[in-house]
């Protein structure tokens, strides 16, 4: 009966365990034939309660907890936190420490973008690019391991400075690795912009205009691919970005191809920046002394994570533990854009569009409380815990 068929909706559920992305997230796509007519996302599978957990740990312990918000962009999370705490304590990290922080942040951006390039190619069914980019990514993992001792959580930052130095030997190793990576990145640029089969999957897919990007609050490379000039390293420089400015990379088209191009160009920009900092390394101490109890006060700090703007709010009550830490991560800001421009595309394009914003679930699964008018309520640790137990019962 035609009337009944018209009312019938066919919903394709995906996740939270699914072969495409390596992290849990649940999506529901309403489809009409092959075309997606509505999309929704359900997040929160990785919500661990870190923000509340920070209030139970000392300032130093929180360095290690906040690093583990995300395994891919662990360094920027700690940078944001550490600089905010330094602001509260009125301590300035030495210039050499800031330069090393920036080098590690850029190396992390390289590893994150190469990881994304592989995963996004994999979603498009281009597994050879996935394998090649992950093989080359091992070069930057080797660099990170050589300078810090660990492949993923580098623990470069401590309150007031950094933990390790970059000597001449390490410097030569970094430069040698970058040379190889630059050559490979140029090769990927050629593949992504000329390969016909790949262009068929990316050109004019998931297009977002500049107005839409601003309206939906997109950040990072996703927004820059739509022509929005937003980069915290440029608009509010911190650490060594004050002395070593970056060139903001934007593209006008706003489709998936633009997101690939912007991220690959950012890789090249990161190589340039690391070389420049290594050539002009400031001399001096690695860390400044910082008191165990941080003076009372509140502050914010913004950094540019590989996925976009990362925002930290830190409040101290004067004790050895923070009173409140609020994290606003880039992945959550970009979700609304995905859900909006997924509509009208084929179901087969969904993995590519989802991967296009470089989603990171462990970053974005946070509790959001909608503030109601005339109703103010302070949640204690115990309340929140009981709420969590009740909610998921």
């Amino acid at each position: 009966m035609p009337t009944q068929e018209q009312n019938q909706k066919f919903i394709v559920p995906i996740g939270p365990q699914h072969p495409a992305l390596k992290e849990p997230g649940h999506f529901e796509f309403t489809v009409d034939g092959e075309i997606v007519t509505a999309a929704s996302v359900r997040l929160g599978y990785v919500h661990r309660g870190i923000e509340k957990g920070t209030e139970d740990r000392t300032w130093t312990q929180n360095v290690y907890l906040l690093e583990r918000i995300c395994g891919i962009c662990s360094h920027v999370h700690v940078t944001a936190y550490v600089v905010a705490v330094e602001q509260l304590a009125k301590v300035q990290a030495p210039p050499r420490a800031e330069a090393i922080r920036t080098i590690v942040a850029e190396l992390e951006r390289i590893h994150s973008h190469m990881l994304w390039l592989g995963v996004a190619a994999h979603e498009g069914g281009f597994d050879s690019l996935f394998m090649y980019s992950w093989r080359d990514r091992e070069t930057v993992m080797d660099i990170l391991e050589t300078i810090s001792g660990n492949r993923v959580h580098y623990s470069a930052n401590i309150l007031g400075g950094v933990k390790f130095d970059i000597d001449d030997q390490k410097r030569d190793f970094i430069l040698k690795g970058l040379e190889f990576l630059e050559e490979r990145t140029n090769h990927y640029m050629k593949i992504v912009t000329t390969d016909e089969t790949f262009l068929g999957r990316t050109r004019n897919i998931g297009t977002m205009t500049k107005e839409q990007a601003i309206e939906l609050g997109a950040v990072g490379p996703t927004a820059r691919a739509s022509g929005v000039t937003i980069d915290i390293r440029d608009s509010a420089p911190y650490s060594a970005y004050k002395t070593f400015p970056v060139n903001v990379i934007t593209d006008e088209t706003g489709d998936l191809l633009a997101r690939f191009v912007v991220r690959i160009k950012e890789l090249l920009e990161s190589y340039r920046l690391i070389r420049e900092i290594l050539d002009h390394m400031p001399e001096g101490e690695l860390a400044a002394r910082i008191p165990r109890r941080i003076p009372a006060g509140e502050t914010i700090h913004r950094v540019e994570a590989p996925r976009g703007e990362l925002f930290y709010y830190v409040k101290s009550g004067g004790g050895d533990k923070p009173e409140r830490i609020k994290v606003r991560t880039p992945s959550l800001c970009n979700w609304s854009s995905v859900i909006n421009f997924a509509v009208g595309h084929k179901l087969a394009d969904m993995p590519m569009i989802l991967a296009g914003i470089d989603p990171c679930f462990s970053c974005n699964d946070r509790l959001i409380k909608i503030r109601r008018a005339n109703q103010s309520q302070v949640w204690t640790w115990e309340d929140l815990r009981l709420h969590g137990i009740e909610y998921y019962r």
Binding site: P24, Y45, H47, D56, L65, I69, R135, E138, G388
Partner: protein, 156 residues
């Protein structure tokens, strides 16, 4: 876990059991679930499948569906929300099945111990056959863990 099939033993059955164990050890299919991890372990698991480490040379293949998988590689502490999912995935897997817990968080809750939304380690929810410590474990450690699990399955 008991590998023996509960049927009357006959010479034919013995041959079949041996064949089954041989096939299982030489080509285990794995499924990966992140039950609350920070991603660090997940990217290292993915790195073990890529050219430098290449876990596939042991016949290990990453599978999408739990119904095709022999080994569940679980990472991270178990959050209250993903607990049900983890159990459901495990129940969907055909017997005999094995769980490998990867990373310090999967072993003990790690750095997230005491956060309000954490149930605890993976072995509080599922029976775990192999533990791989590290934050995150290096790809070599993950390979060694999987190979050790496969070795333990060999008939004595």
């Amino acid at each position: 876990m008991d590998m023996a099939v509960k049927t009357p033993s006959s010479p034919m059955q013995k041959v079949m059991d041996g064949l089954r164990a041989w096939a299982r050890i030489n080509s285990p299919w794995v499924i990966h679930y992140n039950s609350g991890s920070c991603n660090g372990c997940d990217i290292e698991i993915l790195a073990t499948l890529t050219p430098r480490y290449d876990l596939e040379r042991f016949g290990v293949k990453l599978q999408g569906s739990p119904r095709h998988a022999d080994v569940l590689i679980a990472t991270g502490p178990v959050t209250r929300q993903s607990r049900e999912r983890l159990l459901r995935i495990y129940e969907q897997m055909p017997d005999p099945k094995f769980v490998v817990a990867v990373g310090s968080c999967g072993l003990s809750g790690g750095v997230f111990h005491g956060c309000y939304n954490i149930v605890g380690s993976i072995d509080e929810v599922l029976p775990v056959s192999a533990y791989i410590p590290g934050c995150p474990p290096r790809p070599e450690a993950i390979i060694q863990g999987v190979v050790a699990l496969l070795q333990s399955l060999k008939p004595q």
